[in-house]
Chain length 331, copies 2
């Protein structure tokens, strides 16, 4: 019986909880019996013998959970094997997730997180901490949402030397650039339409300045190339200064413009708007994410998937759960 | 120390052997020390204390290996943990690979194969045999070459219900169709040019009649959807009757024609030339393979990779090796 404590009960946390309900049979076939023994948001909690369904309903009805234990208490005293950490991301401090994750690893519990912050701020420290305490840390959900990338490279390309990764790691900017390409409209107009549609946030800086993509690139560079880089090591340029004229010239010559995140084995680490041939697989449209992985044996591998969304993030979190506790047998 | 016996020492077998040499450090970091303790082709063998390099050189110089033990002997008496089976494919009898694989599994040895035949003929039987004897069987290399698909679906999409898989699983036919689309030339002409380039075989039926793609689809349907289907259950139509006129009409309306293999959870199992929108990700060009996987949580996942080639197949074989014996930790 795998016992799960869930810290963070916003969209991502509830999405994970719902996926555990909907696909319980599929998951159980792979990891055996499991139970959520504690859930906690920023101000309230539920522990003991409860149903996930009831916790979701309570939170939606009352905006909180029935008990008042905080995350520290739950991590310190709770009865669980794995912490699923889905608190909001802060890529500069890593908090509050960083403290939660450290505490869980230090007590020998495994951790699965969708939160980029802790890994961007302290990747190497967290890996070392996990190893020292015989614990595991999974972070597939931090890069590319449902798009298989972190474990896909680790496992499916295990015999390869990875030379370079180029990707579109932010769906919001890709949506804006796709529309600028098609409609020849100026950036501010498309941005405000994206905000109305809920694709861009009211404060869009995190996406449009390339910070989100840069954070994901730090995680990839550390996990794939074994580097020890931080956010400050990434050369980051956003999309805010791209004009309709730039698009017009690009398209005329058979190119488009996309926000490309690139890391290679030699240490290159850059997020910037780049000319991409219209025939290049990275010339994708809409909110999708994509990665192009250059290897020595497998050649180029290209993957497209949905980079965000509650079900998509749940898919990635569950893949880590199965990675930790699954039997990995085929049908 | 993992001991490997390699049966089949043609292009695929030698490609695997070479990859073990070139990327020994990468592989060793993941599975620890390993050694090839036996290699055997259809008429000769090498066992005992030898270097992989020397075996490759001997074979290239003399067209054979120095000893005369056959595969049965090696599997029965050899000192190894895992059989890597790379003999030629026969999707109707499964032989000779099927007998070798059964023998190895029955003696509790793990098996990794690039040979579709045994899995197409006896998928369920082999899985049962492996389970009964506490052995593992890996077959990533049988579908899509270096393109991650079998384990990617099993692991990265582990929490998902898989609804449908559509893919381009044969590079030769995709190359021919790509050129027919671009050049408006008739099938026989493009086929013979592909044969001159070594992309199509002298006897091209296996590829162009859709047999190869159908065989791969059987393996996917069994492993992903838990079916028990055989080659005869696949509705197969090849590409031999497609005319330049068909392409002309298709392209005029924004479509192309591709050989699509499709399996779904309801039992659909079909390989046929289909109209594919030019904007569809499956409208790929050249000898590449691709799959589009429809899931409940992750939405659609799309992967492109090289479907054949000695290094590419080696990449897939090694990924199974790491799946069996790796520690799966991150950098």
């Amino acid at each position: 019986m795998i016992k799960i404590a869930l810290i963070g009960f916003g969209t991502v946390g509830r999405g994970f909880a719902k996926a555990l309900i909907y696909n319980r049979n599929i998951i159980q076939r792979k990891i055996g019996e499991f139970r959520v023994t504690a859930i906690c948001d920023s101000k309230s909690s539920i522990t003991g013998d409860f149903k996930i369904e009831d916790a979701i309903k309570y939170k939606l009805d009352k905006g909180r959970l029935p008990e008042n234990r905080n995350a520290e208490d739950i991590i310190e005293l709770g009865d669980f094997d794995v912490l699923v950490e889905t608190t909001p991301t802060d890529v500069f401090s890593g908090e509050p997730g960083l403290s939660y994750i450290k505490k869980a690893l230090t007590t020998g519990r495994d951790v699965i997180t969708s939160n980029k912050g802790p890994l961007v701020v302290a990747y190497r420290e967290l890996m070392t901490l996990a190893e020292r305490h015989g614990a595991k840390i999974g972070f597939e959900a931090t890069v590319g949402g449902a798009m298989p990338v972190v474990k896909m490279i680790r496992d499916e390309l295990a015999g390869n030397r990875i030379r370079r990764i180029r990707g579109i790691l932010n769906g919001t900017t890709n949506y804006i650039l796709s529309r600028m390409e098609k409609e020849k409209a100026p950036y501010p107009q498309i941005l405000s339409e994206a905000q109305e549609l809920g694709i861009a946030e009211a404060d869009p800086g995190y996406d449009v300045e390339g910070i989100d993509a840069g954070a994901k690139l730090v995680i990839l560079a550390n996990s794939v190339f074994g580097k020890d880089v931080k956010f400050d090591d990434v050369e980051v340029r956003g999309i805010t200064r791209i004009t309709p004229e730039a698009f017009e010239i690009a398209v005329e010559k058979g190119y488009t413009i996309r926000l490309i995140a690139e890391a290679d084995e030699d240490g290159k680490l850059e997020v910037s708007p780049r000319l991409v041939k219209l025939t290049n697989p990275l010339a994708i449209y809409g909110t999708l994410n994509a990665v192009l992985i250059e290897t020595d044996l497998a050649g180029e591998i290209f993957v497209i998937g949905r980079g965000a969304g509650e079900r998509e993030t749940a898919s990635a979190l569950i893949s880590d759960l199965v990675d930790f506790y699954g039997n990995c047998s085929f049908h």
